[in-house]
C-alpha cells in the first residue's frame, strides 16, 4: 500500500514535502497505523515520529491520519483508509514542527499548566488520606482519563487562532476535573481565572474535540459545566 508521509526538517529543508513510500502490508491483517509507519521506517529510516506504549495509553503518537487526528497505535487501517487508497500521515495541525511527524507541544503544555492541574486544599491534611464518597468520585469519570495526546486541542480552530490565550479542550477538561473534585477547595479562585473572553469563552461548541478524542471523552460537555459554574457564581 502507498503511504504518504509529511517530511520536514526545519534545519535543512526550505519547505515541507510529502514523501510517498510503498509498503508491503500482510494480507488478511488489519494493521494499526503505527505498524504501517514502522514498516515505512524500515524502508526509510530517516522518518521521525514519537511512539512509546503502542496501546493508546502514553499519548505520544498523536498525528493527523487521512485528515483526522488520532493515535496511530490504536487506529486500525480499515477505519481510516479504503482498500487500494493512500494512507496520508501529517503532524498534528497548528503546532510548530520539530521534524516530520514530531511537533513542539510547549504551548499545549503551557495551557495545561495554566489550569493548575493538581489538587488544592488549604485544610489541614488528615492522618491517613482525604476521603471522598463514591458519588463524588463518580463525578470525575470521563475527566481524569485524558492522556494529553493533544488530538483534541490541535483539531480545534479556536486553539489554532489563539493558542496563547484559549486554554483549549484538553486543558479545560482538566480544569473541570479539579472544579468538580469534592476535595479541592480552590473552586472560586479557579473560576476567577477563567472569566476572561479567551480562556473558556473562545469555545464555539463545534465539538471537533469530541469527534477525535481517542479515549472517547467529551471536553465540550466539561466546558458547558464550567460555563454553568461561572454563571451560577457570577449572576
Amino acid at each position: 500500500m502507498l503511504v504518504s508521509i509529511y517530511r520536514y526538517n526545519p534545519e535543512i529543508d526550505n519547505k515541507p514535502l510529502m514523501e510517498d513510500i510503498e509498503v508491503d502490508v500482510p494480507e488478511g491483517k488489519d494493521l494499526m497505523v503505527l505498524d504501517v509507519l514502522a514498516l515505512a521506517k524500515e524502508k526509510d529510516p530517516t522518518i521521525a515520529y514519537r511512539r512509546s506504549c503502542r496501546e493508546g495509553v502514553c499519548g505520544s503518537d498523536g498525528m493527523n491520519i487521512n485528515g483526522t487526528n488520532g493515535l496511530a497505535c490504536i487506529t486500525p487501517l480499515s477505519e481510516v483508509v479504503k482498500p487500494g487508497k493512500k494512507l496520508v500521515l501529517r503532524p498534528l495541525p497548528g503546532l510548530p514542527v520539530v521534524r516530520d511527524l514530531v511537533v513542539d507541544m510547549s504551548i499545549f503544555y503551557k495551557q495545561f499548566e495554566k489550569v493548575k492541574p493538581y489538587l488544592i486544599n488549604d485544610e489541614p491534611a488528615p492522618a491517613i488520606e482525604r476521603l471522598q464518597s463514591p458519588e463524588d468520585r463518580a463525578k470525575l469519570d470521563g475527566l481524569y482519563e485524558c492522556i494529553l495526546c493533544a488530538c483534541c486541542s490541535t483539531n480545534c480552530p479556536s486553539f489554532w487562532w489563539n493558542p496563547d490565550k484559549f486554554i483549549g479542550p484538553a486543558g479545560l477538561l482538566q480544569a473541570y476535573r479539579f472544579l468538580a473534585d469534592s476535595r479541592d477547595t480552590a473552586t472560586n479562585e479557579r473560576l476567577a481565572g477563567l472569566d476572561d473572553p479567551f480562556s473558556v469563552f473562545r469555545c464555539r461548541g463545534i465539538m471537533n474535540c469530541v469527534a477525535v478524542c481517542p479515549k472517547g471523552l467529551n471536553p465540550t460537555r466539561a466546558i458547558g459545566h464550567i460555563r454553568s459554574m461561572l454563571i451560577s457564581q457570577g449572576s
Binding site: S158, G193, L194, D195, S199, V200, F201, S235
Partner: protein, 122 residues
C-alpha cells in the same frame, strides 16, 4: 486569566450572556415584525406607521436596536481577535486589529444614533 480591554464588558462571561440574550431578543423582534405582516396582509404606509408609533413598539424597537448593537460589537470583536492576530499579519497585526475595532465602534455608534432618531421621530 487573559486580560482584554477592548471587548464590550471586560468579562468573557458577561459578553457571552449578552450575546445570547440579545440573540433571543433579535429573534423575538423578527417574529413580531413577520407576525404583524402576516396578520395584516393589506398593510399600507398608514398602518405600518401606526404600528411603529405605538409606545410599546417604540420601546421594543429601541431595546432591540441596543441588543443589535451589543450583539454586533461582541461578534465583530471576536472575529477581529480570531483572524487579525500576529499569526496572520505579523508585526502589523495590532494596528490592523485596533483600526478595524475602531471602525466597527464608529459604524455601530452611527447606526445606534440614527436608529434612535428614526424610531423617536414622528
Amino acid at each position: 486569566m487573559v486580560t482584554s480591554v477592548t471587548n464590550l464588558s471586560r468579562s468573557g462571561l458577561s459578553d457571552w450572556i449578552i450575546q445570547r440574550v440579545s440573540a433571543v431578543l433579535l429573534a423575538a423582534y423578527t417574529l413580531c415584525i413577520l407576525g404583524s405582516l402576516a396578520l395584516n396582509p393589506e398593510m399600507n404606509y398608514a398602518s405600518w406607521r401606526a404600528l411603529f408609533d405605538s409606545n410599546l413598539m417604540r420601546i421594543f424597537s429601541l431595546i432591540t436596536l441596543a441588543a443589535l448593537c451589543a450583539h454586533a460589537w461582541i461578534g465583530m470583536w471576536t472575529v477581529s481577535t480570531d483572524y487579525m492576530t500576529s499569526l496572520q499579519f505579523g508585526k502589523s497585526a495590532t494596528f490592523i486589529r485596533v483600526s478595524f475595532q475602531i471602525g466597527i465602534v464608529l459604524i455601530v455608534a452611527v447606526y445606534l444614533i440614527w436608529g434612535v432618531q428614526i424610531f423617536w421621530s414622528s
